[in-house]
Symmetry: C2
Amino acid sequence: MQNSFITALTHFSPLSEASQQALAAVSRRLVLEKGHVLVNAGMVSDYIYFIEQGLSRTYYLKEGREVTDWLSADGEIAGSIVSFISRQPDQRIVQLLEPSVVWAVSYGSLETLYAHHHDLERLGRLLVSHGLLQLQHRFDALHMASALERYQGLLANRPALIQRVPLGMLASYLGITSETLSRIRAQV
Amino acid sequence: MQNSFITALTHFSPLSEASQQALAAVSRRLVLEKGHVLVNAGMVSDYIYFIEQGLSRTYYLKEGREVTDWLSADGEIAGSIVSFISRQPDQRIVQLLEPSVVWAVSYGSLETLYAHHHDLERLGRLLVSHGLLQLQHRFDALHMASALERYQGLLANRPALIQRVPLGMLASYLGITSETLSRIRAQV
DNA sequence: GCAATCCTTTGACAATTGTCAAAAAATTAG
DNA sequence: CTAATTTTTTGACAATTGTCAAAGGATTGC
C-alpha cells in the first residue's frame, strides 16, 4: 500500500493486493495551483477526484450569481458528482480554492475495475453510500432551518471551512446572501 | 422473473437467474393499510422497502412540528435510508399515506447477497447512485430558491404528489409553512 | 510596494415568509 | 348521515431575509 489515496479508501472497505495495484495503475496524482478548474460547466465529467491536500468548490450559476453546491477538503472526494454518475452534462464547475494535491480516476477505468474486482465494486457502493449520507446531512441542515441555524450547523460540523472559504461562497453554500451571513457573523 | 420488484430492479442492471432467485428468496411482499408505520423513530432500521403500489412519507419532528423529508410512490424505494445505510438510530419515521403493496428486504440478507453475487453488489451501487442523484436534484430545487420556485419545481417534477399528498406535508417537504403554500396555490 | 481589484461590511428600505388566531372546508369515524 | 376531528384558508401583523448602494478592508498582480 503506497499512496494516501488508496490508504484512505481501504478505511472504507478492505481491498486485495491485486485490486489495490489495479486501482493505483489507473490513478494519477496531480499537483495543482489555486484557481485550477477541475471540471467545466456543460460537459460530461469524466473524472472523479480525491483531495490528498487542499480544497475545492463545486458551484453553478443561477441568475448570474454563483451558488456553491459543495466544498471538499483534505481526504474527501471532489468533482461534479451528478455528471460523473449520470454521464450527462451538468452546469456545475469544480475549482480549487487552494493549491492542492489531488488524485484523479476516470469513469471508464473505474467501470473496468468494477467489472473485474468485486471488492472494488463493493468499495464503490460504500463510497456512494457515504456520499449519500453526507448529502442528506447537509440537506437536513438547511431544511426548515433559519439562516442563524444554518451558520451554527456549519460552525458545529465543519468549522475549518469557515476559516478557509471566503464568506460569499459560504453564504451561498448555506443558501443565504453574503449580507445576511455577514450580519449573523457580526452578531454571534 | 416473477415479481414487479425484481423486474423493476433489473431495469437498473441485469441480474443472473441465480441472483434473481436469491433475492426473491429474501424479499417479502406486504399488503398494508394506510397509516401503517414501516419504520419508527429512534431505532436502527433493518429493512428497506420497494413500493409496488402506494405512497409513503418519511418525516421527523423538529420543535414539535413534522418535517417531511421524503416521499416515495409507486416503483420507488422507501425507508429510513440514513439509518439503513449507517446502521445507526435515526429520528425519521416512515409511514404509509395510502394503502400500499410493498416489498421488504432486510439489511442482513442484503449483506449476504452482496457478498456472494457480484451482480447484486453492482445493482446496489447503482441504486444508491440513483438515490444520490435524486437527493441532489431535490437539494438543488430548494437551494437558493423562493417558495414559489420550489412549488413550481414540484409541479414540474412530481405533479402527481400534489394530488396525493396533503398540503401541510407538501409544505414542509418544500421547506415552507402550510400558510405560505396555501397562499401560493391561491395565487397561481 | 502600490494600484487595482475583489470581498466584506454597513445602512436604509423592500419583499418574502413566518406566526398566531379564527373561520371555512374536508375528512374520518361511529 | 352526521358529528367530531383534522386540514386548509384567510387575515393581520411581525420577523427574517433580500436588495441595492456605498464605504471600508483585504488581496492580488505587476
